[in-house]
Symmetry: C2
Subunit: 247 residues, 2 copies
DNA sequence: CGGTACGATTGGTCCGACCACTTCTACGCC
DNA sequence: GGCGTAGAAGTGGTCGGACCAATCGTACCG
């Protein structure tokens, strides 16, 4: 798609006669080079100066384009070395995703949990069917770190790690990335903090143990149920807190 | 040791003494202003010139920072008018997400479908429980547009629209955003194109009708099953194509 | 009173210079 | 000869200022 002078595309749904801003054009250009296979994961791009010359735009604009794609996780700039295409793994592209869980407030938090309620049970069930002994051992180790006297920060980290480890067992990198985006550290920190205040964090520990047990038994149904109950529990609590005006 | 001017910051539990690049600092600054409530959704930011002065960075760097946050969907720049904070709805923040489905290739496509297989059944079931008559009528209209003689582009658009409409019925904006990201136009176009080549696109139409029927009956279980079969069908086909080397 | 033209404000683009980091090379020391 | 180091070249990062283009408010004119 290097030549923008297009005739009528048959059945095209795109808007007509695109007079894109210069920077936007630069973004599309680079994206196009990747989509067309001219640039493959890990490849190095021409220098900013060369690229800007090639497109007839200023280096500033080209830099903004690169910055945008860097933000998206498509490119990676190494000071002094050059700009590279990332491996384009889901994890690279969805890192930005975490902004949602970081910034979201109020009702959106409930929505996020609702989505996790759809994903985690399925993921946990899948993990139950696939987990090998080594993975289960590692999971058990993480489980031990939750709530064993550590600081609240450690507990949050361990909790996060536990769920991420389960999702990783599914072997689906996209799922891992989506899940990560939906469960940021700050998000979980808020929830845990509230729970500790509210009292029954022992209940969450039980949840975790049941989940682990189900995985250990390679029982997808039990795993699904346990994960559902767990997320549901958190969701219910959050809903209650929001209702009581603690936005 | 060029710029040693940095005292210990009081009360910070964050990582120690970060020597962030200037632009990155600007990004964090703005994000911080939002997180701290100094900037609320819809608010207008100071001008680029003012912001850059306030932070002691050049306007170019500030512009790159704004570009990054614009890319993330946190900010929105209006030529001549100013820079504004978006409403910070999930849809705003997850628009970037679609890059995944746009750029992904090979195995990642299967992963994406696998995630959709987790989400869509749950979403469809939820929709079945919530749909009102008006929503069902609109859905029926969309369904009619699929595969009724239109061009392939129209069919793809209608198919996309059908599934999105279902997800919207759930009323969960975050779910809608995630789903959108997982089902880009180009992604579906590739699948449809392949299917038409392969022949049995009639089967997909049946799938759609069954899904609609389940929604119409307000039967969550049937809806879940129908959605599962549908995604599974697409996934199986894609897997076959990848195995045959058409990555 | 309404509409239009103007001008101030503000984001968009461009240019050219210099700084900071990386990499490669060639020199010098052991 | 081998190895480490200093230097040069290349590249991204930052800077400042200039000008263009879109917007919006205002004051003037019909």
């Amino acid at each position: 798609m290097t030549t923008p002078d297009h005739a009528a595309e048959p059945g095209a749904d795109a808007a007509p006669a695109e007079r894109l801003p210069v920077t936007q054009r630069a973004i599309e250009h680079i994206k196009g080079m990747i989509a067309a296979g001219l640039l493959r994961p890990g490849d190095r791009l021409p220098t900013e100066r060369d690229l800007s010359a090639e497109l007839g735009v200023s280096r500033s604009s080209m830099r903004e384009a690169i910055r945008a794609l860097t933000t998206l996780g498509v490119l990676e700039a190494r000071h002094g070395a050059g700009v590279y295409v990332t491996r384009l793994r889901p994890g690279d592209l969805l890192e930005t995703f975490s902004v949602l869980a970081e910034i979201s407030q109020g009702e959106t938090l409930v929505e996020v949990l609702q989505v996790r309620r759809m994903l985690e049970p399925a993921a946990t069930a899948l993990a139950a069917a696939r987990a090998d002994d080594a993975q289960l051992r590692r999971l058990a180790a993480v489980l031990d770190r939750i709530g064993t006297g550590g600081s609240e920060g450690e507990t949050v980290a361990a909790d996060l790690c536990f769920h991420q480890a389960i999702v990783e067992i599914t072997g689906n990198a996209t799922l891992v990335a989506v899940n990560d985006g939906l469960s940021s550290r700050t998000f979980n920190a808020r929830v845990w903090h509230g729970h500790r205040e509210a009292g029954p964090s022992a209940r969450l520990r039980e949840d975790h143990e049941r989940i682990y047990q189900a995985l250990s038994d390679r029982d997808p149904d039990a795993a699904r149920a346990a994960a559902t109950m767990h997320v549901l529990e958190v969701e219910r609590w959050l809903r209650g807190r929001l209702a009581s005006g603690e936005g």
